[in-house]
């Protein structure tokens, strides 16, 4: 598990202040959750600037709707769910745009440090190369980008953010069994993709 796990109680004190109209209290919540929000958005969307926009929008939307937050789940779960939803919507819009524009197999894949050329699986086995850690990360993000959004979300939330199945189930509002099966397929997809891209795991 990565990141600092917030105890609900700590957040709730600030949430209560926000619900009374204290905007300064919200700043504490932003400071506390900004990194995680950004990273979730970043891994789902695959673009840093877009991720910043999504994270901002998610915080603003959270503040706007903070009165509607009922303490059924942890505040962080509720907050990240907003972020995931916004990222999903943004992703949909982007893919629709890509679909409309038409996409070629040779089109570059968005990666953290710019765009990466797709390396289609060659019929012959690729010669083994020593890949630097940086290159591997590019390939990993490239493979995440190829996943369907449902699989991508569970992969990001579980393997990158380290949330429990229950938390993911609460965030995505799907049963735990679905989270499990989605995660299995996401990991399988990643495995196949990485094998194709890197030749060997």
């Amino acid at each position: 598990m990565r990141g600092t796990k917030q105890s609900g109680d700590e957040d709730l004190a600030f949430v209560a202040l926000c619900q009374e109209g204290d905007a300064d209290a919200f700043e504490h919540l932003v400071r506390r959750h900004q990194k995680r929000m950004l990273n979730i958005a970043y891994r789902v969307i695959g673009n840093y600037d877009e991720a910043c926009e999504i994270a901002q929008d998610a915080f603003v939307a959270a503040y706007k709707n903070i009165a509607g937050f009922q303490r059924k789940a942890k505040f962080s779960t509720w907050l990240y769910a907003i972020c995931i939803n916004l990222a999903r919507n943004r992703r949909k819009r982007l893919t629709t745009r890509h679909f409309r524009e038409g996409r070629s197999l040779d089109d570059p894949i968005a990666t953290p440090d710019g765009e990466m050329a797709v390396d289609p699986p060659a019929s012959e086995p690729t010669p083994l190369e020593r890949l630097e850690a940086r290159d591997i990360r590019h390939h990993v993000q490239g493979c995440i980008n190829t996943l369907d959004v449902d699989f991508k979300e569970v992969l990001v939330l579980r393997d990158i953010q380290g949330f429990s199945y229950e938390e993911i189930s609460a965030m995505l509002k799907v049963p735990a069994g679905t989270v499990k099966s989605r995660l299995f397929r996401a990991r399988e997809g990643m495995k196949d993709c990485l094998k194709k891209v890197m030749g060997e795991l």
Binding site: E27, A55, Q56, Y63, R137, D159, F184, M190, L194
Partner: protein
């Protein structure tokens, strides 16, 4: 448990979210099956690759920008305008409905007012259109005439024009000669009284041309009596009869109405002019004309004497 089933559960197995029984079964299978063992190893590697992805740091301006937007929203929320005016998702449809109502209302009002507008337009239109229509002939006609007059005259046309002019001159000379002849004829027979009558007739003719509405002696009119308007009907009647008798005429008077007397006078032709002059002294003579017979020595005049009432137009 076959390989497919085992591989399907490897993901959950790796996370430890699996029942103890399943865990035992999978462990047993993995000991025997190299393929599934490798699949588990690949899965774990894959997970490790994903987990190894570095975290990104939020930009320095992130919190500030978020809070600026949040505070902007908070101010709006607490602002009096926000309370006065409805949120956008209600406001926009309301405004749309209001706009539609305004448009419909405007159309309705316009339609109900349209006839009035049309009526109100008519005079202005005629007023506006009439002057140009009248102005066109005024402007164009003289110009046309002018053009025709000032049209360049070619040599041949000029000679023809001069010829015509000469002919015209000759004619006018002839015309000019005729009155002289008439005058001579008149002078030749001064005693007959015809000349006087002719002069009178010519005078009347000219006066008729000059001042038609007030031509007091419309002798050319074939029908209708001479109408004399007076204040005192009886005195005037007596006076007219007297004048006629003094001039040697015969009178006969009838009184068809209270304010009217008709006098028929038979008078010598040469006395008519004097009679009319005298008659004008009696009252206002109107040019309804007179019934005259151009007999040999005498004329029959019908004089209608009318009493002047408030309304003089009759």
């Amino acid at each position: 448990m076959d390989c497919r089933e085992v591989q399907k559960k490897l993901s959950a197995f790796a996370d430890g979210v699996i029942t103890a029984g399943e865990r035992k079964q999978i462990m047993m299978h993995l000991k025997k099956c190299k393929g599934c063992k490798r699949a588990l190893a690949d899965l774990k590697k894959t997970i490790r690759y994903v987990q190894r992805l570095e975290e990104v740091e939020p930009p320095a301006w992130f919190v500030q920008r978020v809070m600026a937007r949040v505070r902007d929203k908070a101010e709006k929320k607490q602002g009096i305008w926000q309370r006065f005016f409805l949120p956008l998702h209600i406001k926009v449809p309301l405004e749309a409905i209001a706009l539609i109502c305004m448009v419909v209302g405007a159309v309705y009002i316009f339609k109900s007012m349209e006839p009035e507008i049309r009526l109100a337009k008519i005079p202005t239109e005629t007023r506006e259109s009439a002057p140009p229509a009248a102005a066109v002939p005024q402007k164009e006609k003289p110009a046309d005439v002018g053009k025709k007059r000032h049209a360049p005259v070619t040599g041949r046309e000029r000679s023809r024009f001069e010829k015509k002019y000469q002919v015209d001159e000759e004619r006018s000379v002839k015309v000019a000669q005729t009155p002289t002849a008439q005058v001579e004829r008149k002078e030749a027979a001064p005693a007959t009284g015809y000349a006087d009558y002719d002069t009178l007739k010519r005078d009347v003719g000219s006066s008729l041309q000059e001042e038609q509405p007030q031509g007091t002696m419309a002798l050319k009119a074939k029908e209708g009596p001479l109408v004399v308007r007076v204040r005192d009907l009886t005195a005037a009647r007596t006076r007219v009869e007297e004048i006629a008798r003094q001039m040697g005429g015969q009178t006969s008077t009838t009184t068809p109405g209270k304010d009217k007397a008709v006098i028929t006078i038979v008078l010598d032709r040469d006395k008519v002019y004097d009679f009319l002059t005298q008659l004008r002294l009696v009252g206002e003579v109107r040019d309804k004309g007179w019934q005259g017979e151009q007999g040999k020595g005498s004329v029959t005049l019908t004089v209608e004497v009318k009493k002047l009432s408030g309304d003089q137009s009759d």
